[in-house]
């Protein structure tokens, strides 16, 4: 267990964490402000990745593709909010789960219909193809470091928007008292559409950036969506700070677990069994973490709501 490996894996964990934060912040914002549970959030992640892949391939520019991905995701989000989601705000959570589950089916099968089942290829731009040398001597892809940078920049921007701007004030007001800000003359319907589109844009951004590392395919948003659920449950649903903390925690614990658990079991059992048990346990690790946290704090670490 060298220090070099540890540093490399910590940064891997951080990268997963920042991507999870982009997903989780949108989910938690939508729940905090509108009280809506949205399973179709992973579909915006997928829309962002597909739009980026298509536009990048056509124009040859990754940045143009990225912009297209974010805009496509935001537009899809706004459209979905206008047509379906706004009918669900006053419905029980069961209805919200089912309607957004229906949206997943529609988006996944629709995308499969349009683009086929085989994955699209999306490569990181060439000017980000190099490697950086980490403290300890390991070589690390620059693109992954850039992802972390973008994630941190978004987190800071989100903080500034929510705590320093008029829009952020309205969002916070919406979280604490919906009826009151309506009575004060804020156009709630517009605010809701805006918040929903904003969350979708962040998910699209995450999908586009991760799509360049992995493949762009139907269903790519679902594993991330479920991890994002774990994140916001750990962090406390509705809390951006909780989402940030939970995302980093889940990203680092998951990454380190997958590397170190098999090695740990190797110390006192045969190699083949150790790999099997270690891998199986590592896959369960963040859920165990979630169960332990919930056993002590049923509302998550930074509960924002009752």
């Amino acid at each position: 267990m060298s220090v070099t490996l540890l540093i490399e894996q910590l940064i891997n964990g951080l990268q997963l964490g920042t991507m999870l934060f982009l997903m989780a912040s949108g989910l938690t914002l939508v729940f905090g402000v509108m009280g809506l549970i949205n399973l179709a959030h992973g579909s915006f992640y997928m829309v962002g990745a597909y739009a980026t892949a298509v536009v990048s391939a056509a124009s040859g520019s990754f940045l143009l593709g990225l912009a297209a991905g974010v805009i496509a995701a935001a537009a899809t989000g706004a459209l979905v909010e206008l047509i379906v989601i706004r009918r669900l705000y006053h419905r029980p959570h069961l209805d919200q789960v089912l309607a957004t589950f229906a949206l997943i089916l529609i988006f996944s099968e629709g995308t499969r219909w349009l683009f086929g089942s085989s994955p699209l290829w999306l490569n990181p731009p060439e000017w980000l193809n190099g490697f950086a040398t980490l403290p300890g001597g390991a070589r690390y892809p620059i693109y992954r470091l850039v992802i972390i940078g973008v994630g941190i920049a978004v987190a800071i921007a989100l903080y500034v928007v929510i705590s320093r701007t008029r829009l952020g004030m309205r969002i916070r007001a919406g979280e604490s008292d919906r009826e009151m800000i309506g009575a004060l003359g804020v156009n709630i319907a517009k605010l809701y559409t805006l918040v929903f589109a904003m969350g979708a844009a962040l998910a699209g951004l995450a999908g586009a950036m991760v799509g360049a590392l992995q493949s762009v395919q139907v269903g790519m948003g679902e594993p991330v969506l479920i991890l994002a659920f774990v994140v916001i449950v750990i962090g406390g649903i509705g809390s951006i700070k909780g989402a940030l903390f939970g995302a980093i925690l889940v990203g680092v614990v998951d990454t380190l677990g997958r590397v170190y658990l098999p090695a740990l079991f190797n110390n006192f059992m045969p190699a083949s069994e150790a790999t099997a048990i270690g891998a199986a346990l590592a896959a369960m690790l963040i859920y165990i973490l979630m169960a332990v946290i919930l056993a002590f704090k049923p509302k998550g670490l930074f509960a924002a709501h009752d």
Binding site: F31, I37, V84, R87, H93, L94, D95, V97, L98, A99, F101, A102, L103, I104, L105, I106, S108, E109, G110, R112, W113, E222, I226, F229, V230, I232, V233, I237, A276, A279, A280, A282, A283, M284, Y287, I288, M290, A291, L294, A295, P298, K299, G300
Partner: protein, 347 residues
């Protein structure tokens, strides 16, 4: 609503709305159940084995949904993780058959237990193990409510899913075939009709248990826990153990259906544990009509028929399922049974 003293077993409204065989609801229910029983028998006589197996599939999915309906419909616990119990039941059947086929021990420590291909043993094991898993998951999840409960049950089911996926001994993500269908003493379970009748008996038993349970004091307490748990607590009954017990029974029913489902397909894989299946089970409960005894049956018939008919026309049939589901959720809240048989008294 009457107070929950020891002599009252159910609210008075229930008795007035109980289905009689000759009213609309009673007729629809009898038609559904008789149709499910008689159509496969007729098709068997005509020699269509495929349709008999399809009927077994409908029956077992309906049974799994009956289990989920007890949690969602009667208990108000929106579990998004019932695939965990369905899959665990399936894996019990698969793993036990695997060891019986290999003549190896299922567990060597602390005592050696051989595998078994006797369905009675497998069913018992599936029910007990699913009950224990649900007890652990429910004990933690039921400390929370609302969205938290939905997400936590989902997350726990994912945990089981990833465990099965990465545990290589029993096939990992490739799944585990059941080479010889498990047997039942005195019956030929390989006969499609016999297997269908076993499944049908399971479904009827599950529905009878649900019905009996909901007419008991326990059922009255569970209904009250859904409608107003403060009021239940005021009557001197702690809602938590009531909910937990209902959750465990619900998981046992779904798990038993899973054990039979694995035998029907001769195969068990992590896809039985996937969150998509949890979602589909919820869809079936809602399509049929939530909190209605015959709802899961109506939902399962509709779902499997759509899968078979639409799936034959287009490989993108889930797109249309999504659209239908959206319309049902947004505009037709009472499901197929609400539409066929009229509204339930407490809606």
């Amino acid at each position: 609503m009457t107070n929950l003293d020891s002599s009252s077993t159910a609210e008075p409204g229930v008795a007035q709305h109980r289905a009689r065989w000759h009213d609309r609801k009673g007729l629809v229910q009898i038609a559904l159940l008789a149709g499910l029983l008689l159509v496969p028998i007729g098709l068997h006589l005509l020699g269509h084995v495929y349709y008999v197996n399809l009927a077994s599939k409908v029956t077992l999915i309906a049974m799994a949904a009956v289990g989920l309906n007890l949690a969602i419909g009667y208990g108000g616990m929106v579990s998004f993780g019932h695939a965990a119990y369905f899959g665990l039941g399936g894996y019990v059947a698969g793993i036990s058959a695997y060891h019986a086929f290999d003549a190896t021990a299922l567990i060597t420590w602390p005592v050696s237990i051989p595998g078994s291909d006797n369905m009675l043993v497998i069913w018992l094991a599936a029910i007990v193990l699913c009950g224990l898993l649900a007890l652990a998951i429910g004990a933690i999840s039921l400390r929370t409510t609302g969205v938290y409960f939905i997400m936590i049950t989902l997350a726990f089911a994912q945990m089981v899913y990833y465990f099965a996926n990465s545990w290589p001994s029993y096939g990992g993500e490739d799944g585990l075939p059941i080479y010889l269908r498990n047997g039942l003493p005195g019956l030929d379970t390989n006969d499609a009709l016999t297997f269908f009748l076993i499944s049908f008996a399971g479904l009827v038993l599950a529905m009878a248990i649900t019905s009996r349970l909901m007419k008991s004091r326990f059922g009255a307490a569970l209904t009250m826990a859904r409608l107003n748990d403060t009021r239940l607590a005021t009557a001197g009954i702690n809602p938590y153990p009531i909910r937990l017990a209902a959750f465990v029974i619900s998981a046992m029913i779904t798990g038993l259906a899973g054990a039979l489902y694995a035998d029907l397909n001769g195969f068990v894989s992590p896809s039985m544990l996937s969150w998509h299946f949890s979602g589909e089970l919820m869809v079936i409960v809602i399509l049929g009509g939530v909190g209605r005894l015959y709802g899961p049956l109506a939902g399962a018939v509709l779902f499997v028929m759509m899968e078979t008919l639409l799936g034959g026309l287009t490989e993108y049939w889930q797109l249309f399922l999504g659209l239908l589901l959206l319309v049902v959720v947004l505009f037709a809240k009472h499901g197929v049974m609400g539409w066929l048989a009229g509204r339930e008294h407490d809606e």
